[in-house]
């Protein structure tokens, strides 16, 4: 059976010029993520896991190699085309939430929908639904500075999901949270995964990684191993990608 890969990278390389010296951050990453999978990427600081996530979301360009989303080559796309992909197919979560400070929770959540051309009425409907699902309806009219860290990350999750993206990329989403908030956010991510959401999460925390059904370990810009760590859905798999 041919796996339904929603994300696929082939021999992905990324180097940075740091004042004359070249830092090779990714050194040939082959990764395949099947539709509906929950994949955690772990590894020590500087191993390239965040860079990999940036490349998957089009926030940066690979030095070489290929990226395919739902079977389509996207590594050569321009910024405008990537922006369209991000507003429709990819949701992003950050360690420090990165909510827009002068917008209320409701406005933050609606923003990607409005950018994607959804009507204001539909954006409000989606927002209210997500606020209710995530239990943060009471924060709707508050600005990020007026809510707790856990609530901020839930708002960030709602914002990432408002366009119903096929892929949710999360970079250390619990890194700035206390343990109670971490549990809450993880429960929500699992719940979304349970509904078939593809999740790729970067973390340092083994407890967080344990929530994933696949854990990819990276060292020195390479994938060292892919371990089935948690309860896998029947149709999900995460493996080192197919040979280039």
């Amino acid at each position: 059976m041919v796996a339904d890969l929603i994300i696929e990278t082939r021999n992905l390389h990324k180097s940075f010029d740091t004042g004359g010296a070249v830092a090779r951050v990714l050194r040939g990453v082959d990764l395949g993520v099947e539709r509906g999978a929950f994949v955690a990427i772990m590894g020590p600081s500087g191993c390239g896991k965040s860079t990999l996530l940036h490349l998957l979301g089009g926030l940066d360009r690979p030095t070489s190699g290929e990226i395919l989303l739902s079977g389509r080559r996207v590594d050569g796309l321009g910024e405008g085309a990537w922006a369209v992909i991000r507003r429709r197919e990819v949701g992003y979560m950050f360690q420090s939430f990165n909510l827009i400070a002068n917008m209320t929770a409701a406005e933050n959540i609606e923003l990607p929908a409005l950018v994607a051309g959804v009507s204001a009425k539909e954006a409000r409907r989606r927002r209210d639904e997500l606020l209710a699902q995530l239990g943060i309806t009471s924060t709707a009219s508050l600005t990020p500075g007026e809510v707790s860290g856990g609530q901020q990350q839930r708002i960030a999750l709602a914002r990432a999901l408002v366009n119903e993206p096929a892929i949710l990329l999360a970079d250390e989403p619990t890194g700035n949270l206390d343990s109670a908030s971490t549990r809450e956010v993880l429960a929500m991510l699992r719940e979304r995964h349970g509904r078939g959401q593809t999740l790729v999460l970067v973390t340092h925390d083994p407890n967080v990684a344990a929530a994933a059904d696949r854990v990819v370990h990276m060292i020195d810009g390479r994938i060292e191993s892919a371990v089935r760590d948690g309860p896998a859905p029947a149709d999900a798999a995460a493996t080192p990608g197919p040979a280039p």
Partner: protein, 773 residues
């Protein structure tokens, strides 16, 4: 401490080169404008002073038409160092003509040898020689106006004759301001030539044959003693003090009056706009350096020392910018002084005086110090821990305008731009104010343009002559003049004017006797109406105010030359540029007074310039016609040369202000922009949101600026009307249609100011901006 402050300042300047450069430019522009205003003001008479030194000028001039008076006796009075003359002078306004143009001149008869004291300053050609054809040396300003050069031939129009003369040279006259500061110029011929022009002429003869003498005093302070001693002679019939050097200097300075007014107003605007930028940029810098401030405090700096660090930093920049601005102001000043210098045939060099430089530097440094010290002191007093913990609360404010924009269903990029601006409302308001100054300036400039438009269409509305052309009859026979005017199909209507020297009590009056269809004359009445019958008089508004005359008053006017007294009733007050003018029916005047001028309105579509030349030709050079719109157009060209560059300076300052504000905002919000990119905004959308913010400020500036501009324009017009003493405010407010042009202009200015910030925002890389994730 000082070393630490210097080191920090140097580090900041290195880190924010663009910002420091922009700040430097803006402060320099403000300093240059202020310096320019002060220099032009203090140097307006500088070219004249130099010419006065070259002439070895007299301090005052006295004339006599009394043959029994010996002006030479003045040389023996106290305070007199030397005298020049007496020389014969004809006060009859003879004209020279070169077929294109005509210029009235008073002739002075002099010797082949120029006197050592009080001699005309030759700027072109040479002085008069006795051999060869009769020669003339003409007032330089008059020659420039006519396009006459040394070596040209001109016709001197004397009564019924034409005397051909060779122009030996051009000169700046003594004892009289040059044309066009004075309307009629001086011209010099040899005494023998003068005698040939008016055979049998002598002091007191009917050709207004006077003698004049120039008195050079030991110094200016000797004038009162001299005048007291000369009093008995000055009291005699036909003797009068003609002019003083100080009065002529004041007249020449007045030629720059509008420049000084405009430069003064604009320099205040520019300084204010620069103050806003400094406040914006320094407050922004301090906000973005809260962490540094926390560090400084952690290192042991007191709030005062923190303030001093920032003050030292901004004052060092401001001092350098002030020096550059002062230099630029001095360098540009000659362009503004050129008009006078050109008239006097000298090069213009501004007077470098300590006071204007000191005022400029103190004003600029004071504004910079104020706008730096306040935010720095506030920041210095804050908690070091909080400052170290975060870079400030900037941007956390909820945006009500943003919410309103969203509610109005504006495009999402517009909403984002609005929200971003409104997260720093004080800064946005300050930037809007700088743009508002640009809008006020533009409104004022449109008002000036509208006023010129009105003046060219209808000169009487600003107190000018109520006609398309004013034709001086000069020496043309009155009957021949009327036949010529009646034969011309270009003329729709004309009014005949007869000027008479008259007196109202002690006050000298220019009495204008009018004949014709006065209703078509177009005089603008402030109160009452135009004269309709003999026995009525209309008076200039300025004169009415000065003499306390009003409608219904009865006045008694004497005509000294004909020993006549007219009893008149005031029926109207009208706008009048000239002082002490009264209008009466010509029927009131004794028959000995002949018509002097004709107010001509031409039929629509007439080329008035061509018609002027045609009248000059058809009258055999006897008429002296002037097209009012040509005179106004020349003045407009002169003022545009001042106002348009000043507009440019203020617009540039406004654009730089917007640019620096947006750049600051983008620097502070780069994470937000990066996040927006991760949410799917394209670079184009990010740039559009920055443009939207700039455009919003532009629109807000228009909404606030146009009413303010109209108010400022009214105030300035009132001031200018007072300065020219028309008697009422004569400015025309800009039309609604022209004001509408400011909207796209302001948005375009906002777009220019937003261009660089928009590019900067669009090129933010999320991976860099969010690096510490």
């Amino acid at each position: 401490m000082i070393r630490a402050a210097v080191r920090k300042a140097m580090a900041d300047a290195r880190a924010r080169r663009l910002q420091a450069f922009l700040l430097f430019l803006v402060i320099s522009a403000a300093a240059a404008t202020l310096m320019l205003a002060l220099t032009v003001r203090s140097s307006a008479s500088e070219p004249f002073e130099r010419t006065v030194r070259e002439m070895n000028s007299a301090h005052l001039w006295i004339t006599s038409s009394n043959p029994d008076v010996d002006l030479n006796t003045l040389a023996a009075l106290p305070g007199v160092r030397a005298t020049s003359g007496p020389y014969p002078q004809l006060w009859a306004g003879y004209s020279i003509s070169n077929s294109e143009k005509k210029q009235q001149l008073y002739l002075v008869g002099m010797d082949e040898q120029l006197p050592e004291v009080d001699h005309p300053a030759i700027t072109d050609g040479r002085w008069l020689r006795a051999s060869g054809e009769p020669e003339i040396v003409i007032d330089r300003g008059a020659a420039l106006r006519m396009g006459v050069e040394a070596g040209d031939r001109v016709d001197l129009l004397v009564d019924e004759r034409t005397v051909p003369l060779v122009v030996a040279g051009l000169a700046v006259p003594t004892g009289r301001a040059p044309v066009p500061v004075a309307e009629e110029g001086l011209a010099y011929v040899l005494r023998d030539t003068l005698q040939a022009i008016v055979p049998g002429g002598r002091v007191g003869s009917p050709q207004f044959y006077h003698e004049r003498i120039g008195i050079q005093l030991t110094d200016d302070s000797a004038a009162p003693a001299f005048l007291a001693a000369a009093e008995p002679l000055l009291a005699r019939d036909g003797v009068r003090l003609l002019d003083t050097r100080a009065d002529i200097a004041a007249d020449v300075e007045d030629a720059n009056m509008f420049d000084v007014i405009f430069l003064g107003v604009f320099s205040i605007f520019a300084l204010f706009a620069a103050g806003i930028i400094i406040a914006n940029v320094m407050a922004g810098q301090i906000l973005s350096q809260r962490r540094d401030i926390g560090l400084l405090k952690a290192l042991g700096f007191t709030p005062l020392q923190v303030t001093l660090v920032f003050l030292a930093e901004s004052l060092a920049l401001a001092l350098a910018a002030s020096i550059a601005g002062v230099g630029a102001g001095l360098a540009i000043a000659p362009f503004f002084l050129n008009r006078t210098a050109e008239l006097l045939g000298v090069t213009s060099a501004p007077v470098v005086e300590l006071m204007p430089i000191a005022i400029t530097c103190v004003a600029v440094l004071g504004v910079v110090a104020l706008f730096t010290a306040v935010p720095a002191w506030n920041a210095g007093r804050g908690s070091a821990v909080r400052a170290l913990a975060r870079t400030g609360k900037g941007g956390a404010r909820r945006s009500l305008i943003g919410a309103l924009a969203a509610r109005l269903r504006l495009p999402v990029v517009v909403v984002l731009g609005v929200k971003d601006l409104s997260s720093h409302p004080a800064r946005a308001v300050a930037t809007m104010l700088a743009l508002t100054l640009g809008v006020i300036t533009a409104t004022f400039t449109l008002g000036i343009e509208a006023t010129f438009g009105t003046a060219m269409r209808d000169p009487a509305s600003i107190g000018g002559a109520p006609a398309d052309l004013v034709v001086d009859r000069d020496r043309y026979d009155p009957d021949a003049a009327v036949s010529l005017l009646q034969s011309r199909p270009e003329i729709e209507s004309y009014i005949v004017r007869t000027d008479v020297d008259a007196a109202y009590g002690e006050e000298d009056i220019d009495l204008h006797g009018l004949e014709g269809d006065l209703e078509r004359g177009g005089w603008v009445f402030v109160a009452g109406r135009m004269i309709a019958a003999p026995g009525e008089v209309a008076i200039g508004q300025n004169m009415a105010a000065d003499l306390g005359l009003d409608i219904g008053d009865r006045v008694s006017i004497t005509l000294p030359e004909s020993d006549t007294t007219l009893g008149l009733q005031v029926v109207g007050r009208y706008l009048e540029l000239d002082e002490n003018v009264m209008l009466v029916s010509s029927e009131m005047l004794p028959a000995r007074y002949l018509p002097t001028d004709y107010y001509i309105n031409t039929v629509q579509g007439t080329d008035n310039g061509a018609f002027r030349r045609e009248l000059l030709r058809a009258s055999g050079g006897n008429f002296d016609p002037e097209v009012m719109s040509e005179t106004t157009a020349a003045f407009r060209r002169q003022l545009r040369g001042v106002i348009l560059p000043l507009n440019g300076v203020l617009f540039a300052i406004a654009a730089v202000n917007l640019l620096s504000t947006l750049l600051l905002g983008i620097r502070e919000s780069q994470r937000d922009y990066a996040v927006m990119k991760t949410l799917g905004l394209t670079p184009g959308q990010i740039a559009a949101s920055v443009f939207a913010g700039g455009a919003l400020l532009g629109v807000a500036a228009v909404i606030v600026g146009i009413p303010l501009g109209l108010a400022v324009t009214t105030v300035i017009f009132d001031g200018m009307s007072k300065a020219v003493d028309v008697g009422a405010s004569v400015g025309t407010m800009p039309s609604a249609a022209s004001l509408l042009l400011i909207v796209p202009g302001a948005i375009a200015l906002a777009a220019v100011g937003s261009m660089l910030p928009a590019r900067a925002a669009a090129s933010i890389r999320p991976t860099d901006a969010l690096r510490y994730e």
